[in-house]
């Protein structure tokens, strides 16, 4: 028999605000006819909704008792862990949406005027002439953020699947909407979509097998059933591995990373910034919850998977990032290596991971959004003086420190944070992650991780040397233009300040994340 579920809507308030604003945004698309008004309204709505949601989540954090509340029994929990991820995802969303709205000095936005037109066609030129603007990206971003928030708060494999698709589908579309290099954008979207759908099908079959083995879809019941049954059915292990594969794909860990360089490079850079930070955070959040509340009894059977994937991600990500000549692609492979560092914290299943992983993702996400925000500001300039696409070839960045010292210094700061140099946020993040692994007894893994960090520092420092200690090539003095838009600059300054602050005075934020190290099972 069915019984109506009891849902505590107040606990869902942050998610409801975001998703409702997304739905209202879609309506506004049809109602507001003028392109400029629509852009301003959509931007205001998206920012307002996410700020309000973040405020609500912070109020919930302050008013809930120690652990948090169950929002819907066996389905969703709003514990401190979930609230911490909510606020983090909303911050990434706010910064990302600001970048969506930024444009060049000439007034060119990052998105194609009309996604349905073929690149280079008469229709596209006509849409551009009429000043069409693609403002659907703002509601799409809201849906993506809302889905990610649900993803981080669920304790049920069914709800996890629905949330996974709710945040993935808008991302597939946003990747395809670049204004320039549209063929690359389409290609990235197609690969991202096919591999994403493939991985969610694998996840789903894993869930079906776990359901077959345990008779339940709820994390807590699955864990209880695994503990209760004395003989280990192969269904458990195969199902658990398939579920993890689906989540590791979203995290972008080797060998499930093949989509990420293509999607990162093809996507409009603001979307790359948002996606790189937020998707990884959401995936890590879900992975934490699944591992620590559902699959922990299988620690012995699953540890090899985490070890292998972590080592492969760190090594392959670092080696391939070394040989890249395109900046977006280099950052994509560096994000693959970071997926490995995140997994290091999981090894050993130490409870410290519950505060180390969110902190790592915060430091990584802020630096990532900042780095891609800088990328949107450095543009190619044609001979006739028109400003074109982003300059993503490494060589084009030579001597940037002399043209625009502050911007180049911020980029240098983000790169040092990626490399984990002390006094930046990345160092504290890596330290926490490795400490969690050592606490779990995975010191050989930490050894590999430290070696990879050292090797990775090479390609980060290479770009810094290029920016500050290399002269602008003779013939290229006029080929690069440093663009300016207040939104993009604000994002750069905020993230740079946060990276320094978290690197020098991490104490307060670390304490908050230590408070967040509790998981409710939701029963």
């Amino acid at each position: 028999m069915f019984t109506a579920p009891e849902i505590s809507y107040a606990a869902f308030a942050p998610t409801i605000i975001v998703l409702l604003a997304g739905a209202v945004g879609i309506l506004l698309e049809a109602i507001i006819r003028t392109h400029t008004t629509r852009r301003h309204v959509q931007l205001g709505l998206a920012l307002g909704a996410m700020v309000a949601a973040a405020g609500t989540a912070i109020v919930q954090w302050a008013t809930y008792d120690a652990a948090g509340v169950v929002a819907q029994a066996g389905m969703f929990v709003m514990d401190r862990q979930a609230l911490a991820w909510h606020v983090m995802l909303l911050v990434f969303g706010i910064l990302g949406v600001l970048l969506f709205a930024a444009r060049t000095r000439a007034g060119e936005e990052a998105f194609t005027p009309l996604g349905s037109t073929a690149p280079g066609s008469e229709d596209e030129a006509e849409a551009r002439r009429r000043g069409f603007e693609l403002t659907e990206v703002f509601p799409l971003a809201l849906f993506a953020v809302g889905g990610m928030m649900l993803f981080a708060a669920t304790v049920d494999f069914l709800a996890l699947f629905v949330a996974l698709e709710v945040f993935s589908l808008p991302l597939y579309i946003m990747v395809a909407l670049a204004r320039r290099k549209r063929l690359l954008s389409h290609e990235g979207a197609l690969k991202y979509f096919l591999l994403g759908a493939f991985s969610s099908a694998i996840y789903l079959f894993g869930v079906a097998l776990l359901y077959g083995a345990t008779g339940s879809l709820s994390y807590a019941d699955v864990a209880a059933a695994i503990i209760a049954l004395p003989d280990m059915s192969p269904l458990f292990v195969i199902g658990a591995v398939m579920v993890l594969v689906g989540l590791l794909f979203k995290l972008g860990a080797v060998p499930f990373h093949t989509w990420s360089p293509d999607a990162y490079q093809g996507a409009p850079t603001p979307v790359t910034a948002f996606m790189a930070a937020a998707t990884k955070a959401a995936a890590a959040a879900a992975l934490l919850r699944v591992v620590f509340t559902a699959l922990f009894p299988l620690e012995w059977e699953l540890n090899w998977l985490i070890w292998t994937v972590a080592i492969l991600s760190m090594v392959v990500g670092t080696v391939l990032a070394l040989v890249q000549t395109d900046l977006k692609r280099m950052l994509a492979y560096s994000s693959v290596a970071h997926a490995g560092f995140i997994l290091v914290a999981f090894a050993g299943f130490s409870p410290q991971a519950l505060s180390a992983v969110p902190f790592y993702l915060l430091t990584y996400g802020l630096a990532t959004i900042g780095a891609f925000a800088v990328l949107t500001q450095v543009r190619e300039k044609a001979v006739d003086g028109t400003v074109g696409a982003e300059a993503t070839r490494l060589g084009q960045w030579a001597g940037l420190g002399k043209r625009e010292p502050l911007l180049a210094a911020s980029m240098g700061l983000f790169l040092l944070s990626f490399a984990g140099i002390p006094l930046t946020a990345g160092f504290i993040g890596k330290f926490q992650a490795f400490a969690a692994a050592i606490d779990g007894g995975a010191w050989p893994l930490v050894f590999v991780a430290v070696l990879c960090s050292a090797a990775a520092a090479f390609f980060y420092v290479r770009l810094i040397v290029l920016m500050f200690f290399t002269d602008v090539p003779e013939d290229q003095e006029e080929s690069i233009e440093v663009d300016y838009h207040p939104y993009a600059r604000v994002v750069v300054w905020i993230t740079a300040a946060a990276v320094i602050l978290l690197g020098i005075l991490p104490g307060g934020v670390l304490t908050l994340f230590e408070d967040a190290a509790t998981l409710l099972t939701g029963l």
Binding site: F2, I173, L190, A201, F205, A208, G212, L217
Partner: protein, 99 residues
């Protein structure tokens, strides 16, 4: 007929779908492979639901159908956009992104 037979059938369908995704070069066919995998999971869920006598699996199958439909909308939109730009949907053809 034992419900386990349906689980074995689901596994076979899943493997066929996965092979289609990995081996076929036509985007539409690869996408159909994904759909086959999702429906294989549905079949397994319903069969297990019958074995356990709980209704969770059947409920999940409904959710999967809805999500799969939404996925088709987005997937076909992207494939059509690629086709309009290139007049082909071969997965080997668009190969500007490498390395």
């Amino acid at each position: 007929m034992s419900p386990m037979a349906f689980v074995y059938l689901a596994v076979v369908l899943f493997v066929i779908g996965a092979a289609a995704v990995l081996l076929r070069r036509n985007a539409i066919v690869a996408f159909m492979g994904v759909e086959l995998m999702l429906n294989a999971a549905n079949l397994a869920l319903v069969a297990f639901s019958r074995i356990h006598g709980t209704i969770d699996g059947q409920v999940m199958a409904f959710f999967v159908m809805v999500v799969a439909a939404a996925e088709v909308v987005v997937g076909l939109a992207i494939i059509i956009a690629v086709f309009r730009a290139r007049q082909t949907i071969s997965l080997d053809e668009p190969a500007e992104l490498k390395g």
